[in-house]
């Protein structure tokens, strides 16, 4: 065997074809905060998706003989003042919360990105769009949402619309800030010099690079949306009772807080798990996607 052969094998240059997406996923799964957030949020999301399999009791089925049952074997989470199964109501509530959160996030991803990109890229549009934005942001978030649902009337769709309107200006601002920075990057200049038009520049060179802060923002937004929707329901401005949203359950349980504390506590804990999970998830995403912002431990 020639002496040089094994050495050459060792010198083989390794393939360096590692896509950034794959590297990001690997780093995310090594991040403990992200993982714990994913587990908490994943738990609620899976429960929401599997709701029809997890309970065969109609969440609105009344039971006069089973009112105010404390959690036990028959009723895992107990029953409320109408004898409805809280397990069933909380599980279906998870599904509604996920749907509402996801809808608000998607609306934000589309319209927030559109408005932010236009404002950031075209200085002529910036002033008009951002002043409207500022006007909307001048209201405290929940107050504006209450005002909008008060006008539109209480329903799930209206709550989603109201929350989208409230949060889109915030998302737009974040996208705009990234776009303004990216617009001045040399590779954008180089792309213009190579004959790329505005649309191509935005789509290929600016928006893909603006995704990291947007994704982080959207994960926090999911948490705000779930929390705000619960607030609206609690105030009677979200889904109409008896729709089993967590806010509705808590609103009804509030009167029996002393006699039947589980009614308000159980959806409250579910809400807390969701929000905390999403916040940890968002922190993890921020650490991995934008390492410069990481807080040194």
């Amino acid at each position: 065997m020639p002496a040089g052969a094994p050495l050459e094998d060792e010198l083989e240059v390794p393939e360096r074809r590692q896509s950034p997406l794959r590297m990001t996923v690997v780093r995310l799964f090594r991040h403990q905060l992200f993982l714990s957030g994913l587990v908490l949020f994943g738990l609620i999301a899976v429960v929401g998706v599997l709701a029809p399999l997890l309970t065969d009791i109609n969440p609105n089925k009344l039971g006069m003989r089973t009112r105010f049952q404390a959690p036990d074997a028959a009723f895992l989470f107990g029953t409320d003042n109408f004898g409805r199964s809280l397990w069933s109501r909380t599980v279906w509530g998870a599904q509604l919360s996920m749907m509402i959160g996801l809808s608000v996030v998607l609306l934000n991803a589309v319209f927030g990105t559109l408005i932010g990109a236009l404002a950031g890229y075209f200085p002529r549009l910036d002033n008009v769009l951002m002043r409207v934005n500022d006007a909307l942001m001048a209201f405290p978030a929940i107050l504006l949402a209450i005002a909008i649902t008060a006008v539109l009337g209480p329903s799930i769709v209206n709550a989603i619309l109201a929350l989208a309107i409230v949060y889109i200006p915030r998302t737009a601002r974040i996208v705009r800030a990234s776009v303004i920075v990216l617009r001045e990057m040399e590779y954008v200049q180089a792309a213009i010099a190579a004959g790329a038009g505005h649309w191509r520049i935005l789509r290929r060179h600016i928006l893909p690079n603006a995704m990291a802060p947007l994704i982080v923002q959207l994960s926090f937004l999911f948490a705000y949306a779930v929390l705000s929707e619960a607030t609206l329901s609690f105030l009677g401005l979200g889904a109409v009772p008896p729709t089993p949203t967590w806010g509705n359950i808590m609103a009804e349980g509030r009167q029996y807080m002393v006699e039947a504390p589980w009614i308000i506590t159980i959806p409250g804990i579910a809400l807390m798990i969701t929000v905390m999970g999403l916040n940890l998830l968002g922190d993890g995403l921020r650490d991995v996607l934008d390492p410069r912002l990481r807080i040194q431990q």
Partner: protein, 329 residues
């Protein structure tokens, strides 16, 4: 008709102190296949000239206040943006100074080359890929087909500048503008990139406008040279002529800043002082405050760019005297 004809070009910027001319009355031609060097200190208007030709300056605050740029007979100044987009990349291309930030970090280099071709030509994915491989090969990236999927962060500075060249040349432009293409690179890599630039000129038959503040780069590459100072052309000559018989004191100063092997000097000559700010340019010759040849007459009126001999023009009232002195020495 030359490939590029710049006539009396004046680009002004709106500032708090009123409109200021970044470059003034720039007139020059570039012929097909020619390499034109533009030298001058930082702030002398080299890049503004290039960006005005490309139509890349944001308007406002920038404005072409006078003059015109014609490319293959078409007037670029005042041309609509969609028409300019068609010329950029396929007619005139540009390579920037900073290879580390001139590539989009989220796409592979192959995609970025194909993207440029796609903007100008209809091609099948197969053809696009072949073109990308061909271009990477031409600019000397080894095993080009394998490197198509590399991201910019996997490449060194010199390799990135090669990729920039591949992108700029992918659509076979007639004119390449290279704005300080080697400034950010190691000295050893600089020579390689310049050699590559000249090889590509020979292969594609394109003209090159190379902007630099490095006289060595000019000497190695250019056929003809423009020397710019404070927004104006002060001297214009074929490269050999410029190095042998510089007429403008500023050109002489620049040449004296270059160390030579023959002369055993301890210190290099420097031009005293610094470039005047665009808003506070002196009356008369702009170089006068820093010029050791200045006389009282220099302060009255801008010296015009006068052709002393065919192809060699300079903007100094004592040009003949200075040239004669060099000839004697």
């Amino acid at each position: 008709m030359s490939l590029l004809e710049v006539r009396g070009l004046t680009t002004a910027f709106r500032t708090e102190r009123g409109e200021i001319n970044a470059v003034e009355d720039i007139t020059f031609d570039i012929d097909e296949g020619e390499i034109l060097g533009i030298v001058g200190e930082s702030g002398s208007g080299k890049s503004v000239t290039a960006l005005t030709i490309m139509g890349l300056l944001p308007q406002p605050p920038a404005r072409v206040a006078a003059g015109s740029v014609r490319f293959r007979g078409e007037t670029l100044t005042g041309m609509s943006e969609p028409r300019l987009e068609r010329i950029r990349g396929s007619g005139i291309s540009m390579v920037f100074q900073e290879p580390m930030t001139s590539l989009n970090p989220v796409f592979t280099i192959g995609e970025q080359i194909m993207e440029t071709v796609r903007a100008h030509e209809k091609a099948t994915p197969r053809e696009l890929r072949d073109r990308a491989v061909e271009m990477l090969d031409k600019v000397g990236i080894p095993s080009a087909a394998k490197r198509l999927g590399d991201y910019p962060h996997q490449l060194s500075g010199g390799q990135r500048q090669r990729v920039m060249l591949a992108i700029a040349l992918a659509c076979r432009p007639k004119l390449l503008i290279a704005d300080e293409p080697t400034t950010a690179l190691d000295v050893t890599i600089q020579a390689q990139v310049l050699d590559l630039l000249m090889d590509l000129r020979d292969e594609f038959g394109m003209a090159v406008m190379i902007i630099t503040h490095n006289m060595g780069v000019i000497a190695e590459t250019a056929d003809r040279v423009l020397v710019m100072y404070a927004g104006r052309i002060v001297e214009q000559a074929p490269v050999v002529r410029l190095f042998e018989r510089p007429e403008h004191p500023y050109t002489r100063g620049l040449l004296e800043c270059v160390p030579t092997l023959e002369q055993d000097t301890e210190r290099l000559a420097a031009i005293p002082g610094s470039l005047p700010e665009p808003g506070r340019r002196p009356p008369g010759c702009r170089f006068a405050p820093r010029c050791r040849w200045r006389i009282d007459a220099c302060r009255t009126g801008l010296p015009p760019l006068v052709e002393q001999e065919p192809g060699h023009a300079s903007a100094c009232i004592r040009a003949a005297e200075i040239a004669a002195q060099i000839g004697a020495a």
